[in-house]
Symmetry: C2
Subunit: 147 residues, 2 copies
DNA sequence: TATATTCTCTACTAAATAGGTCTTATTGGT
DNA sequence: ACCAATAAGACCTATTTAGTAGAGAATATA
């Protein structure tokens, strides 16, 4: 139930790319510095996001990473599924082959209910929602800039 | 976001104790056999539950473990907090000392919202609810017994 | 074309998690 | 008093997760 470092870093990373959507590619070194995260570790995480199709890259000087579609079309649920290796909560909920005792398992319904409430929360949010929320906060607290 | 093995085993363990509440102590070997879980690993988990005050034990022959209060008074949230070492989701939500950037953190509100929906789900369930649900299922599927 | 910049890949280390082995302490039943 | 059953503890192993180091491949720009 703890959020993995991978997921926390991954969402911060995607937020940066979302915030920059439409501009030139962002290089990992900048993000790593701003977010105080190991660049090497970020580079591993972003490869995962790339092969899932959420992110694309440009090599060479002035290269970097970009979101592959607008922030409003990227759902937080799909992000977390990619980062957590698509076993959100319980393997047995995703894949009946792992355990077909749902009928008699005394905890299955309980965990299934938990997965439902979190999935519906995650499905209701996109990267655009995070940006909007951040912009609103920036005004409120007079943060002149973030990136 | 994945449920740890520790938490899954711990809830199954507590369910067994809850189901037996009011009877004589249950020994770990029986639970381990019924639930197909390593007894040694269970014994580590239950020590944690014991020192948190959820469970008490009796040594010697015919000894074993019991819930220290009725199942209806044991909330699923407290169980999971004990098993997950009380860092549910985000350290920074529990303890502001870890990171006081909430005002400007672009992902804090998002994770905080997730913690809210799960906490309210977990708070709404007790071990008694799991028992009731199990009994209802047993009827429906004609499972003559569980324990 | 040369080069600095940036992504990509492989290999390593450290810590946490999941589990096993063996021994000791405690208690009920005979 | 003894024995069998049971909890409790110390210590070891394998796998996964988190993070580091460094070489190599691609490419925009001068």
């Amino acid at each position: 139930m703890k959020l993995s470092t991978r997921t926390r870093y991954g969402t911060r990373l995607l937020f940066e790319l979302a915030y920059n959507y439409g501009n030139k590619p962002v290089n990992l070194g900048d993000i790593a510095r701003r977010q105080s995260i190991s660049e090497k570790y970020l580079s591993k995480i972003i490869i995962q996001l790339k092969s899932a199709g959420l992110v694309k890259s440009e090599r060479g000087a002035k290269g970097g990473y970009m979101l592959s579609k607008p922030p409003s079309l990227i759902n937080m649920k799909e992000i977390i599924e990619v980062l957590e290796g698509d076993a959100l909560f319980l393997d047995c909920i995703k894949d009946k082959a792992i355990c077909d005792m749902q009928n008699m398992c005394p905890t299955y319904d309980f965990w299934h209910g938990l997965a439902e409430v979190t999935n519906s929360y995650l499905s209701s949010k996109t990267l655009q929602n995070l940006i909007d929320n951040y912009n609103k906060k920036s005004e409120k607290f007079n943060l002149a800039y973030y990136i």
